[in-house]
């Protein structure tokens, strides 16, 4: 391939010189116009060969070289030699008519991305060959004139089958309007569509090249307007077109240089990863590839799914992002305009760091599952408690109160005629039942107070304060309902803290604050007792710590001896 590229580079020089001579001597073009025309072709060849050498897997280099040679070949159709003219005329429009559009639309990946683009380029190649070939078949020498019509010399076809001036001119007009008019408009529209849908990085990358493409293509549109209107020459746009055509390969070179700089970023990445914690691998990759939107998803073989750095399940995005998979480790979701080779190189450089980060993501995913399971256990426990309270209320409690009422009725109906012994027994039974009902109520309340289910935390705290032997002031309480698990956790924190204050701290006053603060719900119970309580001092508080932590919250006890006790529970609560 290297030898082929060298041969193509060398061959372009005499080819260009021959083209220049034909332009000047046969077409009677001005030397400066001829130099510009050959310079465009040489620029394409040079840029194409550089691109081909640097990126052998990418077709852009080959296409650029092809455009350059097609443009050089185009000069031969101005030759006065009929065989050279005929051969060159058939393929002369491929360069400007199809290959140029092909390379612009295929940049930077080297492939046409959409079916419309493929259809467009295929049609352009076909038309660029079919129309000139057809024109040669009806060539009506000496009157037919394709180029330089003001000059005395008339070229002639080597393959005229049915010369017909009318058909020739009809074909000529359709070709000029169709290929250089409609196709140019479609080409510009495709470029505009690409820019519109490109990512910001894609726009930065494509804009100079596509702008040059639009500049080069606009002369063709102008030319067809002139052809339709029959107005004079479109020469004022010649230099405009030449500038655009030279800018195209230069813009491509600029793109290649930026890719080379980015490869330098990959080298920096290797150094940077050596001192980056595994949590920073994504950021390091994003910096190295200049893609702030880059994401890394880690593959967990046991779960057969991807997770992010924190172990949360993620779906690989399909909405126009490109995905590069590192087998069994991770996937890099990146800007589709990034050079895939570059992303692969960065992925390979970061492989070890990504592997470590994957292990950490795996641990976090497992921790997340444990945390989720813990939360579900507590929530299920709460639900079970609610059910037990309801069952107690609807079952045993109802039967006992009905029995108490029955005994009272028996007392009432026996009245004065009752044996005093029976009356005592009945009275004792009623009293015992009363105690049993009270104990059952207390048990049900401890399991899960009905008022918490029915009225929420504020009502439950009021009820709790109402039956506490020490004065309890509810300083603040939420007006609205909270998620049931948050209400339950906050209530049991308050309940345990108040119980401890009454039992152990010799408190004379208790204050309760319950309100939202910065996306968290905070329950705070403070007393004026003797202090000295410890967070791990009893199973009640330890159980509460578990309950609060299961919901992602925290519980702390501040209790300096002699300074009262303050129990603070904080629970995540977005709404």
């Amino acid at each position: 391939m290297k030898a082929l590229r060298a041969a193509l580079a060398v061959a372009a020089v005499p080819f260009g010189i021959v083209g220049y001579r034909i332009l000047v001597h046969d077409l009677h073009s001005s030397p400066q116009n001829a130099v510009a025309s050959v310079a465009v072709a040489w620029t394409f060849v040079a840029a194409g060969l550089v691109a081909w050498a640097r990126r052998p897997q990418n077709r852009v280099g080959v296409l650029m070289t092809f455009v350059g040679y097609a443009l050089l070949e185009r000069k031969l159709q101005y030759s006065h030699d009929s065989r050279l003219f005929t051969a060159a005329f058939v393929f002369g429009e491929i360069g400007l008519g199809a290959a140029l559009a092909h390379v612009v639309l295929a940049y930077p990946s080297g492939r046409l991305a959409t079916r419309v683009e493929r259809w467009f380029v295929g049609t352009a190649y076909t038309a660029a060959v079919a129309f000139p070939a057809a024109m040669l078949l009806v060539w009506d020498y000496p009157r037919s004139c394709a180029y330089d019509c003001g000059h005395a010399f008339r070229q002639h076809s080597s393959i005229p089958i049915a010369p017909n001036e009318t058909v020739f001119h009809a074909l000529d007009q359709v070709f000029k309007i169709g290929v250089y008019g409609v196709f140019a408009v479609v080409f510009i529209a495709l470029i505009a569509w690409r820019l519109w849908h490109a990512t910001p990085r894609g726009r930065r990358l494509l804009a100079p090249l596509l702008l040059a493409g639009v500049v080069a293509g606009s002369r063709a549109v102008w030319g067809s307007i002139h052809e339709i209107s029959g107005a004079g020459t479109s020469d004022p746009f010649y230099w405009w077109q030449v500038t655009g055509q030279i800018a195209i390969p230069l813009a491509l070179l600029a793109g290649l240089l930026s890719a080379r700089l980015a490869r330098g970023g990959v080298a920096d990445l290797i150094v940077e990863l050596g001192r980056t914690p595994s949590g920073g691998v994504r950021d390091a990759l994003a910096r190295a590839l200049h893609d702030p939107t880059l994401q890394v998803a880690y593959w967990l073989p046991m779960r057969q799914s991807y997770v992010d750095e924190d172990g949360r399940a993620v779906e690989l995005s399909e909405d126009g992002r490109a995905v590069m998979r590192l087998e069994d480790i991770a996937a890099i979701v990146h800007d589709p305009e990034l050079d895939p080779d570059l992303v692969e190189a960065a992925g390979a450089a970061a492989r070890l760091a990504l592997h470590n980060a994957r292990l950490q993501a795996d641990v976090r995913a497992q921790l997340g599952k444990v945390q989720e399971s813990r939360r579900r256990i507590v929530t299920a426990g709460d639900e079970q408690r609610r059910r037990i309270e309801r069952d107690l209320h609807d079952g045993a409690q109802q039967r006992l109160v009905a029995l108490a009422l029955e005994l009272r009725l028996a007392q009432r109906e026996l009245g004065a005629v009752a044996d005093p012994q029976i009356e005592r027994i009945l009275a004792s039974a009623v009293d015992e039942l009363q105690v049993a009902v009270e104990e059952l109520r207390e048990l049900a309340r401890g399991v899960h107070p009905a008022v918490l289910t029915e009225e929420g935390l504020a009502g439950a705290l009021e009820s709790l304060a109402g039956r506490t032997p020490v004065p309890v002031e509810i300083v603040s309480a939420p007006d609205d309902r909270l998620p049931p698990e948050i209400e339950a956790a906050a209530y049991f924190v308050a309940c345990e803290a108040i119980t401890n204050a009454v039992k152990h701290s010799q408190a004379t006053a208790i204050r309760v604050h319950a309100n939202r603060r910065n996306g968290r719900f905070v329950i705070e119970v403070e007393d004026d007792g003797i202090g000295g309580a410890k967070e791990n001092g009893g199973s009640g508080l330890r159980g509460l710590v578990d309950r609060v932590e299961a919901h992602g919250g925290t519980l702390r006890v501040e209790s300096e001896p002699g300074q009262g006790t303050r129990v603070v529970g904080e629970l995540p609560c977005a709404r």
Partner: protein, 117 residues
């Protein structure tokens, strides 16, 4: 003393309550086991007293009491829970009063009904 109805989803309690009300001098004109039937019964008979359980299968006793706020009937809540467990709504309701079921007796009923007469 007037007519009364009993609204409670436990048949045994309804039977006992009926007897108690009758012993207290009320004519029990109907019993209902849920809120909707209780409301229909109260609207049909317009009794002087509605003995109303707070926990009903279809709706809360508080809601039934709210519906009867404009009727001539007086509502007395009963529940196997005590008043402290019922929260703010029990305190805010327009009922004559509340009697825990285990404390329901001629005396407690008279105390509640009589206290507002």
């Amino acid at each position: 003393m007037g007519r009364a109805i009993v609204v409670d989803d436990h048949p045994a309690f309804r039977a006992s309550a009926r007897r108690l009300l009758e012993l207290s001098g009320y004519e029990v004109v109907g019993e209902a086991s849920d809120g909707a039937s209780g409301l229909a019964l109260a609207r049909e008979h317009e009794p002087e007293l509605v003995l109303l359980d707070i926990t009903l299968p279809d709706m809360s006793g508080f809601d039934v009491a709210d519906e009867l706020a404009e009727s001539p009937s007086s509502v007395v809540f009963v529940s196997s829970r005590d008043q402290n467990d019922l929260g703010r709504r029990a305190r805010r309701s327009g009922a004559l009063g509340f009697i825990p079921k285990d404390r329901l007796s001629e005396e407690s009923l008279l105390a509640v009904v009589g206290s507002t007469r």
